[in-house]
Amino acid sequence: MTKEVVSVSPETSLFDAAKLLYKNRFNGLPVVDGIGALVGILTEYDLVNIDSAIHIPTLQRILRRLALEKDGIEKEFETIAALKVAGVMNDDPLTLKETATLEEAVTAFTQHHRVNPIPVVDAQKRLVGIVSRSDLVKFFIDFPAKKPRITPPGPRLSEAAVGAMVEKSVSLLEDKILLFQSTISTADQAILITDIDAKIIYANKAWERLSGYSMDEILGKHPNDLWGGHMPKEFYDKLWQTIKTEKKPFVSQVKNVKKDGTEYWQDDYITPILDEKGDIRFFMSIEPDITDKKQKDQFREEFISIIGHQLRNPLKSISWMVEWLGKSSAISDEDRRKIEEIYKENKSLASFVEDLLVLSRVGKNTLSKEKFDLKVEIEAIVGEVKQANPRVEFVFEAEGADFSLTTNKPMAMQIFVNLIYNAAEYSDKGAGKVEISLQLKNGEYIFSSHNNGPDIAEEDRPKIFSKFFRSDVAKEMKKGGTGLGLFIIKSICDNFGWQIWFESSAGHGTTFYVKMPVSSQMINDKF
């Protein structure tokens, strides 16, 4: 309870009392006489009660009359000003003795719904404090934290009172769960919750859509027996080490298999959910839903496509005109250098527009598919890049005979063309070396592109696939890059359900890998 109580006397004007209530945001004021004995209580309720015929209803009446006649106001005002607390207060208020237990306080509040607050009096009926509903709520909220202070002699609750509190808490909790459930079940991301043994206890609709399984089919089962279990053992060791031992979220790309057998790579975010003691209660796995992302991106893609096509022709015209102008014999060397600069700038702008256009096509489900041999295509790209970078040494190795793939070829080629050009352009300036390899391993093609250039700085590594990111090294080595190359590659890989990653270390250069499940190329037909 509150011991420093603001109280009023029966003779206090109702106006002042109302101001006190309002100013302090009290629900009620105890009324005491000259010797401090409680004689009543004035609550907000009393102020709006029609029977007591004052304040709010009266005030409204005055205001209404104010608009009609001027004379009546003064009279009304006098009436109001003359009102005393005594005329309105409840002179037989419910009180609690200072010796009352917490249980009695709880009971008083549960039995008298409208009562709040309750004055606390001593044996002589003198006011010693006031206790409000919010005091009780505060007590129960702080309960665990303040345990040591209140337990030994502290108030004891009867079973009934505890029962009432528990019931109240449970119903609050139920509300929260309901809210949580409705949010989670309609979320765009696929969400899966398992118990500590990884047995599935919940999957939302997006998860059902993504995996092709219904919740009923998977309840109580282990993800590895459904879509999972397609990653190497070390992957799962690391996963469990992170989420179970370190109790930290695990973020990675993971290969799953849909109910219909389609393999796909997905970004996965798995986090342990801990109780207040820090013990793991559940695991939650969240995978972004591509379907939704696609819809949101559609407008943007179309917009980029329109802008891109509109920019393309004028840029080309400028390029040709500048090229032509540069060949003129009537210009000075200095002017020719300026023209060359214009030409270069224009060309980099044109490649930027090309990149944007490629990007706008990623994820379009109208993309046609064809079967082709990856080995033949990569050989051709290596030849082309070699020609453009005559000082770089190239090695291409393919283990295995058949590397046939069925997917959208131009998109897929974007990945390899970009990676191989990058490898060459960022290889060692003096003795550049690029090694490209292709292999078939566990039903997956693995493409790798290694160079002996400078390593990617530690702080740049997480950002390397981001839009418009260019490392200082990249800016230094290749001018006119758009900062979209790797972003495009990543977007296409995500869209195809392919995995892309890289390894980079000082003195050992950088290797980019692309892993393509042989049976995966149709993944996006499902979306």
Binding site: H309, R312, N313, L315, K316, S317, S319, W320, M321, E323, W324, A350, S351, V353, E354, L357, S368, N408, K409, P410
Partner: protein
């Protein structure tokens, strides 16, 4: 301010030469650049700024090679190509498509109609395009 006060009329022939090239391109500056650079190489150059005029010039003058844009007013480039290929003379004339479009679907459709080359404008310099024309015509 550059003065583009040059006659860019259709079917303009500047000087007599052995080989005739028809440029069908709606964009004035691109057409001008291509035409002037080909004339420097002693080609007879015919110019058309839409598909209809282009088709008429092709049938009437029977050029040795056609540089064709795909996005054209009146008759589109792909339709023009189909009409051309249905003609006895037109089915064999070398056509190089010079376009801003790099859509793979269009490229494969054009390939099916027998084009000599498919040049995506932004990837090709004027010099390279002129070189390509010389190579095709003289081979």
């Amino acid at each position: 301010m550059i003065n583009f006060n040059i006659n860019m009329g259709e079917g303009q022939v500047r000087r007599p030469a052995q080989r005739t090239i028809l440029i069908i391109e709606d964009e004035g500056s691109s057409r001008w650049a291509l035409a002037e650079n080909l004339r420097k190489e002693n080609f007879d150059v015919l110019e058309a700024k839409d598909g209809e005029a282009g088709l008429a010039l092709a049938m009437g003058r029977r050029p040795d090679l056609i540089l064709l844009d795909l996005v054209l007013p009146k008759i589109g480039g792909m339709e023009l190509l189909k009409t051309l290929r249905a003609d006895d003379w037109g089915k064999n004339v070398p056509v190089i498509i010079v376009t801003g479009l790099s859509d793979p679907a269009i490229i494969s459709e054009a390939a099916g109609l027998g084009v000599s080359d498919f040049l995506v404008k932004n990837d090709w310099t004027l010099e390279a395009i002129v070189g390509k024309v010389k190579q095709k015509v003289l081979e």
